[in-house]
Amino acid sequence: MQWDSRAKIIFKQNWNDYHLFRIETPKIAVEARPGQFLMVRVSDTPYPLLRRPISIHSRERNALEIFFQVAGQGTALLSRKKEGETLDIIGPLGKEFIPDWEHLGIAYLIGGGRGIAPLYFLGKELKKLGAKVHVLYGGKTLADLPVKEKFKKAGLGMTCSTDDGSFGFHGFVTDLLENEIQKTTPQILFICGPNSMMKKAAELAAAHKIPARISLESMMGCGFGACWGCVKRIKKSDNGKWRKICEDGPVFWAEEIIWEEAE
């Protein structure tokens, strides 16, 4: 973990509510692993007070990319930062996506909406490890799939879905996953998106006995384990105690998650 209070925004791009920043931060970049996140200070004033947890979208040499959707006051402020400005960030934080396996085989990455964010970094790293990566990217409509082209450019297989049929498969990304599982047998799933989508994907994983890694989202006070504010009840580990999303997560095995309490 490093603290970089002068991480420079060297590139930014946006698609309506979705924003991508490339941030020069050599020390954090070198440590970063897929699935980890940054705590980003969005204001110099106490309004809003807290940092925002933002997942790492990509590593580009000594820079990191974040991809986020404006979801409230904090991310709205963040979205207005300009190229050349600096950000105060702490990271990389949390546990990574990739398990310590000898062979990863066929890996399916399932992202819903802004949940696609960590899957680009993950896809690239999995590919380096020799995994056969296929990404399923779902959104409500075409406008919710802004980063789809870059996956293809990185040589990662991708199928898209939209709830309204405006692009790709017409239906939920989990319906798409169900179809895919009939055709091929992934060795592992990596899932990030809205809770309802992750829950459905986890059920499919369980039904087909495929191990699945899931990244949970939570509001956080500090992001580094000191406030105990971001807990969820996680099964198996420690007899079902509240576990910190920031430190014990944000990535968990699907079977550890108690969905009724994951909201």
Binding site: W3, Y47, L49, C222, A226, G229, V231, W242
Partner: protein
């Protein structure tokens, strides 16, 4: 110019008046990547019950204007695990270590003190009689002068170390409670704990916290904390440690001017994890600028 930032609480000498507040600093070691412990006055570790404690269901946090409402419910590892796994590491730090003590009953407070009394490396106990998140409707001993005085007296008798009573602001007469703590034998008083608060989601009409109520902290509460610190510091003869919304050295110095001998920095640690160290440094800059040789020259110097 050499500036002396040290303060003497009578029962404990501090390098400088800046302590990290309980509940915002974990067990201390979480902040090792961010601060030099020998540049702050000390740390108050997260509240400890005798056994491990699960805390409240989530959501536990909600951000409000200039503040944070929390209902963590004192989740923690318990005194045994703390003593075995954390305390040996804290002993190696060159900083004062104050342990915040909790209890579901008077007996539990005593049990915790008796256990910790057998351990080395603790400088004082801060009696957490004021957490609003563990009983329904925010009840805690610090809401009543009699329960405050009685508990402080028992705690004082149970152990060998100084007792700091941490008071709640959720009372009609803070001075009455502070006097009860003093009469009970407290060596010092710290205040304020969080203000009982709530927030509502207008879409769902549900409380934003699973616990319904939580404790408000952060810059939003500083004026109230300052007023109460002033009232208490002028009413008691034991040292007062002020806290509530301190983000900068100027904030901290306000508390010293109204009579606090030291301060605790809480919520600021989440946003700027080096807050304690930064504030101590900024205090020195302030003294330099004002030609103040000893930080103690500021304490209780409010001009009314």
């Amino acid at each position: 110019m050499m500036i002396d930032l040290s303060v003497d609480l009578g029962f404990l000498k501090l390098r400088n008046p800046v302590l990290a507040a309980s509940g915002t600093f974990g067990y201390g070691l979480e902040f090792a990547p961010f601060i030099d412990f020998d540049k702050i006055g000390g740390i108050v570790v997260k509240g400890l019950y005798f056994g491990p404690r699960e805390g409240n269901p989530p959501p536990r946090l909600v951000e409000t204007t200039g503040g944070l409402i929390n209902a963590i419910g004192l989740q923690g590892v318990g005194v045994e695990k703390f003593s075995e796994e954390v305390l040996p590491k804290l002993r190696e730090l060159d900083t004062a270590v104050i342990v915040n003590i909790c209890g579901a009953s008077d007996e539990e407070y005593i049990q915790v003190i008796e256990y910790l009394d057998r351990q080395e490396g603790v400088d004082a106990y801060e009696l957490n009689i004021s957490c609003p998140n563990v009983e329904k409707n925010g009840f805690c001993p610090a809401l009543d002068p009699d329960t405050t005085g009685a508990l402080v007296k028992q705690a004082k008798a149970a152990g060998r170390r100084p007792i700091i009573a941490k008071l709640s602001p959720n009372v009609t007469n803070i001075v009455e409670i502070a006097r009860a703590a003093e009469d009970g034998g407290a060596d010092g008083i710290s205040l304020i704990n969080t203000l009982l608060a709530m927030a509502v989601d207008v879409e769902t009409r549900r409380p934003k916290l699973a616990n319904i109520f939580g404790g408000l902290s952060g810059p939003a509460i500083k004026p109230i904390a300052l007023r109460m610190t002033y009232q208490v510091a002028t009413a008691v003869n034991i040292p007062v440690i002020g806290m509530g919304g301190i983000m900068t050295a100027a904030d901290a110095i306000e508390f010293l001017i109204v009579g606090a001998k030291a301060v605790q920095v809480g919520t600021a640690n989440f946003i700027d994890p080096a807050s304690t160290m930064r504030i101590a440094g900024e205090m020195k800059d302030f003294c330099e600028r004002k030609g103040i040789k000893k930080i103690t020259e500021l304490i209780g110097t409010i001009k009314i």
